[in-house]
Amino acid sequence: MTDVLRILIAPLVWLAAFSAVYGVHGVICGQGIETMPRALLVGAFILTIGLQVAVLAALYAPRFASPSPFVRFVSQATGWVGLVAAVWTLFPTTVTTYCM
């Protein structure tokens, strides 16, 4: 099961972070939060990227990487998917208007 988790972990982190950032955005707009909303959203974006980089690094590290070459390859590929997805899908936090 650990090998299956290695394959799933990075996209799972992306999905959780993506939903969380969308939720933060909803709270900011729904509750009319005016204290540095952009900073909050960009901070969440940077935190997500940091998390994805950490997961990817772990998937490459001998301590956490799978002993199976196949699982190592697939888990690292999905690790990159998580990182690219985080950068691409949450990039709008830096440029678009947030509650219009």
Partner: protein
């Protein structure tokens, strides 16, 4: 023992009952897989006939063929049947039939659950068909948006049929998903490590996990909308703290992954059939696995792209537009891997290959229009037009129907054991392919000209007449093509010549048996050393028939073995239950529950619930034994312990994945609560919950003590003792939690006055249901101990109960905190 003697002995143990009786008592995956597929195609025919009616209506302007009320029912049932009663069950049927064979084992993990799922599907589908025959079918469109479907605007029973019938059918999907997941992870041939799994199994695994996490939001939405319609709990009424957009979120949290739940199994068929048609191996196996996983996850981040026109802020739109474009990348990886496979092989234009080529053309066009509608400004123009209808048909017909037709022709010799000698399929392919593109290319065009989807008629001055007529003619050409497919399948099944084993020269294990498949699949189980065992060793089928594999000596039981998930090393010996009518009986009683809700016979609801509980008790009780089983010899000098002697038994794995679906349901409920609180108009509520620290403390203590008690019980049983005290303590602790949750429900603000009270009631009810279920489990353990069914070597049930108790403790504490702390903060 020679091969024939072995076959006779195994068949005696594994075969379903002969004749008509066998239909109702079979738990055999081959029989049930075939039944699933035949039933799904029966529904496909009905859905197809409804499509013909839609196109007849739209063929001419001002058509009087059907009035708007009937037309609404027709298009709603067309979408509902195709999505819920054809596409998903076809995947289930194919996986149920194929997986044990392709994985090199004898049956699925939980044979009775397979049968229960099938009968739930049949009864739920029959409910929906009955509504159509009676002229009271659902009429709110297949995504059932409130407020149109609320009791104010749809007061009839039509919508209830959809909400209750589909929830009933979804039991089948969840059951199949649990079954498929555990089977793929644990029930494989020895030696089949993750990197040697057939690619279809990877796709089925990803799809099953998606069903487990994708379907619960829709089940929750259906429950909430039915509660609103039946009892006035205002989850979707804006004036009482609800929000109709909540339905759209819950529906599309399911609805978008659903598209990939339909596509991925078809991609599994393509990845299996294409290399065989090209006389080569699949290019980029690892890349394809990674792409399938990526696609599954990304598909859960797209749901809002169905809601671009609902007034969501720009940043929200940009998130989901970005995710929608990104999903094209892993899809492209798969497409290029398949093109590469064709490039490196020598493609032969057999009939399955024709359908695969049809898939490529159609699906790529559908994918490209998908990228178009992912772009927000384009979507604002095209939303709810016939362009969207055309796009979704290109994706679903191209991405599911063509690959499934390829699969039908590829595995038909396996199912029938006969050679295809009527060459009607090629003509059918030409008609279906041509008819499809005539119908739906025209529909793109008419959509861009402004024709809305779901309109029952239009005026001659609109200028849509010719294109609609062309589209309708195309749809009838498709219908003729499918009629020929059905004719050919019937002719082949009934009268074609017997065929040889492995007619395509494939490398996967399903062809390593005689066809049609015997009840036990393999006379002895293979040891796998590569991804294409039959290519590696063409004599493997004969060696297995001679009993040179594992479990070659037929015993008294239906038996197989499980393996370590990663390495494929054999770990446990499993004994299956035999033929039984329990699944159909339980599905019927489950049906009484749903029918009672539908017809508002509420006095029969508790009767049905008690009936299901009694049958579940009997279901689990039948698995036990009162003596320890020694390690079983599986051949090749290996003896394995029985799966009931360990903590991580098949039932534990099944519970784990069922709880995964359950947790998604609970998570969706929390999302709904947070959404209403932060976004819905009409908040704060007029009355808050009055917190009680005594009730909160009592409930938390009950949850904590039950979790400790079950651990004490496990420690005692491992040491050879009888843990009656710990089980009794756990039962009392759970009953205390029952009381705390019951008080929460009783004291919640009036649920029909505001969505806050309604949400607390549902949260409390969810917790109470699980607490009662767990109390029943403790009572079951107590009965098992007292009857001598437990020992250190028969302790699997304790670990399963621990999973449920831990889950209850977490959600119970969460629910109590949510209710009491919201009251405190208010």
């Amino acid at each position: 023992m020679n091969a024939l003697q072995r076959h006779r002995k195994l068949d005696l143990v594994w075969a379903s009952q002969p004749g008509f009786r066998g239909w109702f008592s079979s738990v055999n995956h081959t029989d049930l897989g075939r039944l699933f597929l035949v039933t799904a195609f029966f529904f496909f025919l009905i859905g197809g006939l409804l499509a013909m009616l839609i196109r007849t209506q739209l063929a001419t302007p001002g058509s009087a063929f059907a009035g708007p009320e009937i037309y609404n029912q027709i298009f709603t049932m067309h979408g509902t049947i195709m999505m819920f009663l054809f596409a998903i069950p076809t995947f289930e049927g194919l996986a149920i039939y194929l997986l044990p064979k392709i994985l090199g084992t004898r049956d699925l993990a939980f044979p009775r659950l397979t049968a229960y799922g099938y009968w739930c599907y049949v009864f739920g589908g029959a409910m929906l068909l009955a509504s159509m025959v009676l002229g009271i079918a659902p009429d709110g469109g297949w995504f059932m948006y409130p407020p149109l479907t609320s009791s104010i605007y749809s007061p009839g029973i039509n919508t209830d049929f959809w909400l209750i019938g589909i929830t009933f059918v979804e039991i089948s999907a969840i059951a199949a998903a649990v079954e498929i997941t555990v089977t793929i992870l644990k029930y494989r041939a020895p030696g089949m490590s993750l990197d040697k799994m057939p690619i279809f199994a990877w796709y089925a695994l990803v799809t099953a996990l998606m069903i487990l996490t994708g379907f619960p939001p829709l089940i929750l939405g259906s429950v909430l909308l039915e509660l609103e319609r039946a009892f006035g709990l205002p989850f979707f009424q804006a004036d009482l703290g609800g929000d109709s957009l909540l339905w759209q979120h819950l529906f599309w949290l399911f609805g978008h992954p659903e598209v990939y739940i339909i596509f991925l199994p078809a991609a599994g068929v393509i990845s299996t059939v294409l290399p065989v048609m090209c006389r080569t191996t699949l290019l980029g196996y690892g890349w394809i696995v990674a792409a399938a996983v990526a696609l599954a996850f990304l598909s859960f981040g797209l749901w809002v792209h169905h809601m671009f026109t609902t007034g969501i802020p720009h940043m929200g739109l940009a998130f989901f537009s970005a995710a929608s474009t990104l999903v094209a990348v892993p899809t492209g990886v798969q497409i290029f891997a398949w093109i590469g496979t064709m490039w490196k092989g020598r493609p032969e234009l057999h009939l399955p290959m024709l359908h695969l080529l049809g898939f490529f053309v159609t699906f790529v066009i559908g994918g490209l229009t998908g990228v178009m509608v992912a772009v927000v400004p384009f979507d604002w123009q095209a939303h709810d037009t016939a362009f969207i209808t055309a796009h979704l048909h290109y994706v679903l017909f191209g991405g599911f129907v063509f690959p499934m037709l390829a699969g039908i022709y590829y595995w038909l010799p396996h199912v029938t054991g006969r050679k295809r000698n009527f060459r009607l399929g090629e003509l059918a392919f030409v008609l279906i392919f041509t008819g499809f593109h005539v119908t739906f290319l025209a529909m793109h065009w008419i959509g861009l000209m402004g024709q809305r989807r779901r309109i029952s008629t239009y005026l001659p001055e609109d200028g849509w007449t010719t294109i609609n007529l062309i589209s309708s003619v195309g749809s009838f050409v498709i219908a003729i093509g499918f009629a020929i497919v059905i004719l050919e399948v019937i002719l082949n099944t009934a009268s074609a010549r017997r065929g040889g084993r492995n007619p395509w020269g494939a490398g996967t294990l399903e062809w390593a048996m005689s066809t049609p498949a015997p009840s036990y699949n393999f006379a002895s189980l293979p040891h796998v050393t590569g991804r294409d065992p039959l290519t590696d060793d063409p004599k493997l089928p004969h060696a297995l028939a001679r009993g040179e594999g594992y479990l070659a000596t037929p015993g008294r039981w239906r038996e197989t073995l499980t393996v370590d998930i990663a390495t494929g090393q054999p770990d446990f010996h499993v004994i299956y239950p035999g033929n039984t009518r329990l699944p159909i009986l339980m599905a019927a009683v489950t049906g009484v529950f749903f029918l009672s809700l539908l017809l508002k016979f509420y006095w029969t609801v508790p009767v049905a619930v008690i009936g299901v509980a009694v049958l579940v008790w009997r279901w689990v009780w039948a698995l036990g034994r009162t003596e320890d089983l020694p390690a079983q010899d599986i051949g090749h000098g290996i003896a394995l312990p029985n799966a009931a002697s360990v903590d991580r038994s098949p039932g534990w794995w099944g519970s784990l994945f069922l709880l995964t679906a359950n947790a998604t349901f609970f998570g969706s409920l929390l999302f709904g609560f947070a959404f209403l609180w932060t976004v819905a108009p009409g908040w704060p509520p007029p009355v808050w919950f009055t917190p009680s620290m005594a009730e909160l403390a009592l409930g938390i203590a009950g949850a904590g003590v039950s979790a400790v008690a079950v651990r004490m019980a496990i420690r005692t049983i491992r040491q050879g003792g009888q843990p009656m005290f710990a089980v009794g303590l756990g039962l009392v602790a759970v009953l205390i939690l029952v009381a705390a949750l019951g008080l929460l429900m009783l004291r919640a603000p009036s649920p029909d006055q505001h969505a806050y009270g309604a949400t607390l009631l549902v949260l409390g009810g969810y917790g109470l249901f699980h607490a009662c279920l767990t109390a029943l489990m403790f009572a079951f353990l107590a009965a098992r101990i007292s009857r001598g069914f437990t020992s250190a070597a028969r302790r699997a049930e304790f670990a399963i109960v621990r999973l449920w108790v831990d889950y209850l403790a977490i959600v119970g504490i969460f629910i109590l905190l949510m209710a009491h702390l919201t009251g405190v903060t208010a």
